[in-house]
Symmetry: C2
Subunit: 304 residues, 2 copies
């Protein structure tokens, strides 16, 4: 199956201890779709300004991403600028220019409305709900969110949460959303609010998958050279949901594989700035890294 | 094979959001030996004062721990008092009374000197070296240390490191010891200084095992109720090294199992205060939890 994705398309200026990129291709919908494009066809809803470089459009098209829902509006494209300190765990935002993204209203082209797998990247929960309204036969909807909405739009977020099947959220934000420091308790509380599946992202420590009463722990691949962590979370979701869409199987064993493929895609994206690593990524590399995750985590049965 | 262990025997007063224990049985050698006693026979070197309760001695004996090397000196037993905040990740030390531990000199009884597997728990690196001097045919020596010695006894620690086969260290301390924020680079630097095997402990995120050019990632078991994290690191080392001693196999596949058994023992000790969980732990529970770690981490081969 295909995936419908709604989120930001941006030009990112990012500085890390290992270099800098000025106005590189960024945004949650962009990272997600490019990652998911290795597994299925993403249909993107977003907005750019008149200044959005044609080369970026060409790249997204080369990944067979459907851009029928990418609006072009008068004005400038959304810009984000940030800096990562030495440990690369959290970005300091230097500048945010919403530009055309400020008045973004996600409108689904007719050809998108029948899509069954939906990813609502991190945007205003009210807009996320307006997207669901336009879906004619959604089968599995996943949502991402952030501290800004947890704090500022608590009620709208709670309403949207009720309508989705899965939540992708950072560890700190899961604690913030539920008031629980223990992640098992936090995941339980979230599941009581709607989504049957909760994926808690822990950056360099990997991710925890909660589904019904089962838990799966996926490590992050220990990497010697992380150049730019921007987009790791959306690339993770892209691999995860790309696999779900491709296999159309929501069983726990398949969700585990999805979680590892998400981790695989996140492990690639951080190796270079912007989306550069995905530009030359091959299916064979994905397969080899998946095997690397197995070597990293698997062990024999009880010894005695 | 048996294990020789040198470290502290203490009376711990611990407060967490979930309760408090006053002068409970504690100390690195105590946690390590009790944990290891589920796998092999530990021979303990340590010191207590005249006030050390006989019930604690009886408990250690009931676990078949050899106490021939436990010195009893005039004065009071080492006491530590600490408090854990809500997230349970780090203890605030409220009081430390070294008492008889201040002038502790580890002397190995004749019956201990031929032991081949040695664990040097977190004590002064000079004393750790004096223990190695007394070992007649050490085959595999593992060392634990902490920020206090990394900062205050850098050279002595470097000398001791050269003489050991494995280092057990916290994530933050690995970074402090090497000046590397990246853990792969940190582990490489440590391995260049001596130990072929490096185990980096990451608390609620589990542990990373580095051995030759291979890496293994063990998760911590997500637990809904952690009562008292004191001794988790030493209990981890006890399960890890207990398994190594029992199997006498230093191959990577066996080190992985050791790492999981360490995680299993750590997951038990934090469920209750002091050593209480180990008092009623059974081999069957260890086996079941080992299987739980497999379910938590294992996934099928590449999907397509």
């Amino acid at each position: 199956m295909d995936i419908l994705v709604v989120g930001s398309v941006a030009l990112d200026t990012v500085e890390t201890p290992f270099g800098k990129i000025v106005e590189g291709l960024g945004g949650s919908a962009t990272h997600f779709s490019t990652s998911a494009s290795f597994f299925t066809t993403p249909h993107l809803v977003g907005v750019v300004g008149e200044d959005f470089p044609e080369t970026h459009v060409d790249f997204l098209k080369s990944r067979k991403i459907d851009l029928a829902g990418l609006q072009k509006k008068p004005g400038r494209t959304f810009r984000w600028s940030g800096r990562y300190s030495f440990d690369l765990n959290s970005a300091e935002t230097l500048d945010t220019q919403l530009n055309v993204f400020q008045h973004f209203f996600p409108e689904l082209p007719a050809s998108y409305r029948g899509k069954e797998i939906v990813f609502l990247a991190n945007i205003d929960p009210e807009l996320q709900s307006r997207v669901i309204d336009q879906c004619e036969k959604p089968k599995w909807i996943a949502l991402d969110t952030m501290n800004f909405w947890i704090q500022g739009k608590k009620e709208a977020l709670a309403k949207t949460l009720k309508r989705v099947n899965a939540l992708f959220i950072n560890e700190g934000e899961a604690r913030q959303l539920t008031g629980e420091s223990n992640l098992i308790k936090a995941a339980k509380k979230i599941r009581e609010q709607g989504p049957a599946t909760v994926v808690i992202k822990r950056g360099e420590y990997g991710a925890l998958l909660f589904h019904e009463n089962q838990i799966f722990s996926a490590p992050a691949l220990p990497l010697e050279d992380v150049k730019d962590p921007t987009g790791a979370g959306d690339s993770f979701a892209g691999g995860f949901i790309g696999h779900i869409a491709r296999t159309n199987d929501l069983g726990f064993e398949n969700l585990k594989k999805a979680c590892i493929l998400g981790s695989v895609m996140a492990s690639f994206i951080v190796e270079e700035f912007s989306l550069d690593r995905f530009r030359r990524l091959t299916q064979n590399e994905i397969e080899l890294r998946y095997a690397e995750f197995r070597r990293l985590t698997h062990f024999e049965t009880y010894p005695f």
